[in-house]
Symmetry: D3
Subunit: 341 residues, 6 copies
Amino acid sequence: MQKKEFDLLALGEILLRLSPPDNERIVRGDAFQKQVGGAELNVASGVSLLGLRSGIISRIPDTSIGIFAKNKIRFSGVSDDYLVYDTGRDARLGVYYYENGAYPRKPGVVYDRQHSSMTRITADEFPKEIYEAARCFHTSGITLALSGLCRKTGVEMIKRFKEHGTLISFDVNFRGNLWTGEEARECIEGILPYVDIFFCSEDTARLTFGKEGDVKTIMKSFARDYPISVIASTQRTVHSPKVHSFTSVIYDAGKDRYYEEKPYKNIEVVDRIGSGDAYVSGVLYGLLSENGDCEKALKYGNASSAVKNTIPGDMPSLTRTEIQDIIDDHENTGYHSEMKR
Amino acid sequence: MQKKEFDLLALGEILLRLSPPDNERIVRGDAFQKQVGGAELNVASGVSLLGLRSGIISRIPDTSIGIFAKNKIRFSGVSDDYLVYDTGRDARLGVYYYENGAYPRKPGVVYDRQHSSMTRITADEFPKEIYEAARCFHTSGITLALSGLCRKTGVEMIKRFKEHGTLISFDVNFRGNLWTGEEARECIEGILPYVDIFFCSEDTARLTFGKEGDVKTIMKSFARDYPISVIASTQRTVHSPKVHSFTSVIYDAGKDRYYEEKPYKNIEVVDRIGSGDAYVSGVLYGLLSENGDCEKALKYGNASSAVKNTIPGDMPSLTRTEIQDIIDDHENTGYHSEMKR
Amino acid sequence: MQKKEFDLLALGEILLRLSPPDNERIVRGDAFQKQVGGAELNVASGVSLLGLRSGIISRIPDTSIGIFAKNKIRFSGVSDDYLVYDTGRDARLGVYYYENGAYPRKPGVVYDRQHSSMTRITADEFPKEIYEAARCFHTSGITLALSGLCRKTGVEMIKRFKEHGTLISFDVNFRGNLWTGEEARECIEGILPYVDIFFCSEDTARLTFGKEGDVKTIMKSFARDYPISVIASTQRTVHSPKVHSFTSVIYDAGKDRYYEEKPYKNIEVVDRIGSGDAYVSGVLYGLLSENGDCEKALKYGNASSAVKNTIPGDMPSLTRTEIQDIIDDHENTGYHSEMKR
Amino acid sequence: MQKKEFDLLALGEILLRLSPPDNERIVRGDAFQKQVGGAELNVASGVSLLGLRSGIISRIPDTSIGIFAKNKIRFSGVSDDYLVYDTGRDARLGVYYYENGAYPRKPGVVYDRQHSSMTRITADEFPKEIYEAARCFHTSGITLALSGLCRKTGVEMIKRFKEHGTLISFDVNFRGNLWTGEEARECIEGILPYVDIFFCSEDTARLTFGKEGDVKTIMKSFARDYPISVIASTQRTVHSPKVHSFTSVIYDAGKDRYYEEKPYKNIEVVDRIGSGDAYVSGVLYGLLSENGDCEKALKYGNASSAVKNTIPGDMPSLTRTEIQDIIDDHENTGYHSEMKR
Amino acid sequence: MQKKEFDLLALGEILLRLSPPDNERIVRGDAFQKQVGGAELNVASGVSLLGLRSGIISRIPDTSIGIFAKNKIRFSGVSDDYLVYDTGRDARLGVYYYENGAYPRKPGVVYDRQHSSMTRITADEFPKEIYEAARCFHTSGITLALSGLCRKTGVEMIKRFKEHGTLISFDVNFRGNLWTGEEARECIEGILPYVDIFFCSEDTARLTFGKEGDVKTIMKSFARDYPISVIASTQRTVHSPKVHSFTSVIYDAGKDRYYEEKPYKNIEVVDRIGSGDAYVSGVLYGLLSENGDCEKALKYGNASSAVKNTIPGDMPSLTRTEIQDIIDDHENTGYHSEMKR
Amino acid sequence: MQKKEFDLLALGEILLRLSPPDNERIVRGDAFQKQVGGAELNVASGVSLLGLRSGIISRIPDTSIGIFAKNKIRFSGVSDDYLVYDTGRDARLGVYYYENGAYPRKPGVVYDRQHSSMTRITADEFPKEIYEAARCFHTSGITLALSGLCRKTGVEMIKRFKEHGTLISFDVNFRGNLWTGEEARECIEGILPYVDIFFCSEDTARLTFGKEGDVKTIMKSFARDYPISVIASTQRTVHSPKVHSFTSVIYDAGKDRYYEEKPYKNIEVVDRIGSGDAYVSGVLYGLLSENGDCEKALKYGNASSAVKNTIPGDMPSLTRTEIQDIIDDHENTGYHSEMKR
């Protein structure tokens, strides 16, 4: 494969995330932690932390809030080359408010993302060279659901990246507060013919795509209907807001083979937001750096997701070496050091 | 029942609560979280959050600390109409210092509540109209134990509210550092003839009132000796400072029937202070809003208490809708969403 | 004048204000202070702190952010009886981001207030009794500029309150980022026939209303053209972001008399936002509590504004006694104690 | 002079100080800075920081708040050998709440120091050896005003230390909220026959002791009436809560000579509490370490006080070297480095 | 045994510890908690908190960082009489950065302790009287591994303290990043002839000293080869970074008897750093205060270590009374109060 | 001039900066703000913020502290392409501790930068392409003073960049704690033949280079002795730690012309560290973006430096637009808006 500037370019909205400290509630207190996130940005950041070059394609306001987002994107190791700045009077960065849970109180999210600068994105704002610049292009159903222009831009980019031989990665990431299942199904079925790597949870497959049977049957059925190479599905068990278990299944359509491993059990959850995106980043890292090896993708994906739960904020924060240590500990049943000194 | 201005008026001391952040110790560090609490205020706040109108009857200093307390009371949704301000040279708000525990370290409280403005409260300071203003009057054994004047005022208010057709709610809330079991028993037996809704833990019933038998036998014996309509008793299991389980039993004397439900297991405790008061608030809300339905009272009480453990500070912070969701999740054995979006 | 439930009702948008601590910049750092403000809310809060009863008429989202705003409104002493909750999918509270300045860096504001729940307010959402409930109604040009519905509601409320014998107070508060000078002039000239108390800066009078001459000439010309009783105009000198001087002029049209006093010089500015609103609140307090005495209104207004600059956040935080002490110190040229013990 | 264990022992109450951060008000916010202070402790700490051995004589509760005070006393370099622990049910540490000012808002203090463990101190609780242990004993009018037992203990200790050849230092420190001027005058005149080093402000000398004439006349009149060796009087000018100027006058009665120096002008005040005590500590350090040289005492006193204003909390925090650098800069009119590297 | 000034003197390096708050990562965020620690200091502090007199022998820079360390040492109840100040140009306090873990992320430490002032310590810097001043001298393998001068000083002090009848306590505390197992073995075997109380983990005994058999066999073999009186070995089970269990075994060589107790199970770990040192402090306290009673030493050691895990920072923070309560709760199978009021 | 990848590459050490919040002292408190700085990094960041592409050449440890530095460098807009990671056992990032001043307390710095990874840098670690990559190369006397290897690398890079037609910028930045004036003079005189843009303060010119006469005479003398094109010298007046004034003089040797402007007076200093580096960044930006126009360089330099004083941390934080606004305000004597809305 020819050398490209980026291993991954991702298209998605960047949000300002505001959360009260610790277990405080949104309705009280005097302070918010300020962070930046977004499903596709989280993926790009995870891939970058593991050692590949990634960038985010997005549209942000030309205000100090937009610059804050840009600074944080750079901090997270992601290129800001394809950020477009909105200088309009109604330029804004979407905001979401997040508070942690503790059993029996669930975590909660309040979205204020409508009318954001991203919702007015168009493909014309980006130079044609972008389609030559990446080995892989990733976006998610959230982007497609944000606005008509987002959907149009997302679909167009998928097609044009594909034309230039770029791998297309797509995460369904269904959000019932952005569109209906029916809208989602119709739109996504239109792009599946272009998708190489497909992330879809079992629940969504059933509820949105009307799939039946166990998770493996479902995966195979997607691969039968569309020219998808790799399908991945997470398996999360939420024991309580502070304790989860996690693993996943990956299906390699070419080899007609499933990959699984024992779950990370009783993860000590600090912040579960973005753990699904961290999974995607691990899988993509594995596929892109290990020549499509689904077994390695599975391990990187599961470890990246499990450990993201222990890190505050949307974005992951682990190096390649640290992830490898976690994989080794997970597989190793013998002596474990208790601490990294 | 005729329409009154308040659904609940509660008489009790308001304390400034100071606690080190997280798991820091009182003997170290540079900062205290500053909050306001008090058993009866916590009850009034819980009732208000669920949607009824409540107010607190108390006496606070006419200083900026008193105004802070007033502001926080309003913030928590409780009326400050019946706060009396102490302008004396020795006016003070009682203080308590609280630190969290973690097994094997227990949580700890240091009280500095003597000589507070509340200890010099008298019934004369309040207008007669107060006795017409509420459907229910609540106080607890803490108020009766604070000082001679508090006891006199508490007893007088119980009687006068009762005369005006107000439901009387009383929580024993025995505190060995305020009075002896013998003093408590004698005083409380004097007011039980006026009490309609009675909260008493099994331990206190045995140790202070000399009751014997299981919790149901004890409850019935109270109802036999006094004209109490509803008796409630919490059942808390402390697995560790950070893990509790909780449920309760309510006895409806008129129907001679007990109400119980399965416990909230392995609550992820953030701050257990005020969870007993949250229970009272849930039960009173249920009784007052659902026409005395003890089954609903039980559910609101248990859910309110369970969830209070997850919230920092003395006072609860959940809306009617949020509590209903928790009750539904507790009863529902099927699919639960992991997060509120 | 007959007794009404509120001394003041104010119509205006409530905003979530987010600011980095101290002199940090918006584009960096990990935390925002979270506060609530809004020109008319700030006025209502100031009037309440000084001892009158006030309420805010507004429209906020039915989310935890809306509840936070409601809690803070109550905390600040303002009634939440006339808050309407927006349960729509696009419900949102407007946000603004504020950072402090230090010479030669100016303070800065980024607004994200478009599409807020307030912009869809209508007079129909409020009960008719509201027009009987207040001695004085206050709003500002910001409200009129927010949206077509806001303008319609504002104008309608001004007229209907006026019909019910309510004093009408109006602050021009011109904001070039919300409407043009021409739009402002046209709209405001339509309501001036209803206004009793009028706040307009000298700059705005010249630039927007095309007035000429010195500030006193300008004031008299407004009183000549419209049946306004009291006109007030602030005189602020900005030496640097951390040092201002402040005084004002008030014109009593009935007596054809001007009121002035020496400025508060070299105010140590902590947070200048809301100091104009604090001025309005002091003037209204003076007029409403002192039977229209403009001299007292001037003193309360100047002191309230001067001291607001020393308090973080939008809203003032001083009691009647504290303001009186500041007025006394300002007038008194003899011995001043250095500290309040 | 024979070698003693301590250069200075001071008798005084230790208070928990709680203050909102920066310019926040006591009536709002979620946090207090927690610190420990007290006039005599501040003096002992200042003397210790400059290099002499000091200890505090006091009575504190045997609770975690008392241990916090003890830990902070040790942190500040002061010996805790003569702390007596109150194990009674009503044991408490006095509290005071402090908020900063900014012109035109003055700083404010709310005291909650009544009924503290200190108010029940008696001389019997301390071993006789204490009277042999120090070169100098210091206390202030605050201690004498706290309670009858405090006054009795203070007077007895002054006499017994004097009998053992200890220098007696006394700071009038008049506080109108603790006793009247008449009570103060009567009590203090009773101890002046024992005092060697006397701190009294010009205002207090006039108002409380009925002195007349300029500050030098007043000082000489004290020295004429009582066998006082050194009299010191501070000269503070409060330009605003954030800008003070400071100097002082010292009278050496033996030499009949006055010592003065140019003021520290436009001190950038961060926290003015304890700056008077820092002055006393500097003077005592000068006298004790420089064989009674009043000129050096003046310089150390003025520098210590000036610089204390720049340090948060009650207690000073500068080393001997740092104070010397400040004195050198103050006297030196030539080149000053801008920073200590 | 004759009365000595100190019960314990410990020789060891003092480090500045910097840690991000809560579960934040070192690579992000804007703040570090600043604390002071060091294996031997932690021991000295634990012994002091329980009621004995202890001091630390160390070498720190004569800078404000050194003074910070000194202040914290005094705060923790440890004497600073034997701190030597390094005034050299290259004076520095070693630093270490610590971040908490959460499964599957392990806690991590980054050391920056090379070239510290401590590495240039010599025995000549201390007065001879030091060797008469303590009942017990403690140091650890860390000190011996820091530098050639540290090793020389450590060995010399062990020998000279021993000559003066001081009990010698030694904790192997093997750190592979400071020296090799072979270096450690050789050096430590040289000092074991002088050691009275020996702390060595089972793992280290096997890997470094080549011991075989179970822990009891290993202990006895040490006692056979060297004149050691007491050997202690901790038994920690790390279930996850936030959940540990802990107990230990002590061997009394004179009585040829082993002491054990049931583990503290499922400790809620807040900060595990220093829990091993807290164990040593508890054992030494037990031996020194209870006349060498190993059973009491075991209980104090286990309780001190278990509870240290719940306290932020390196150093323990519990009083004698609090430890006794924890021991009582651990042994008592009946009714436990949930909270200390 | 041909297009190069970077407008500026700077060689210099990166330091971890730790400072207590606000006016707290290093010797107390529980927290440090953590930031990253370094004279040349500050310059690179300033140039990048204004809109040019810059990178830093440095050597940092391969630890989480090194990654933190890398993340912050990216956050500040500077390329990390030429960071070399030190994987050695003794890898470390230099640290410095900074505390703010307030008159009469000066700000203070404690350095702990010896033995850092940077001190072992060699030119061999960087690819040859680096010398083609930039239009301008900048370093300072600090780099030359850090170690023998740093000096060797610095000198070699200056020569090799020069050979490739790169403009050489050099800031003397004399630090007496790193080398003597004599060492500095000798070394710097060796590189001046290669320097195009030279920054040297008047004091340093006199004390280190033995220059005489006024600042203009001095500048011309440098230009006479060496082929320097532009010489700049700052003129700072320190009224107090919180109030400075600032301007500068630039000499254009080719035109034999001096550029000056009126000072920024009474700057409200928040953090003066890095304001000299911000000056360099403004001048370099002006020269590089405006084709060597010294008048524009002067304006950008003065404005960048003045405003840096108002921003916490080492690094500047202003955009091109914001700097232009400050320049406009500085030059404009008419109406100024008070706030940026």
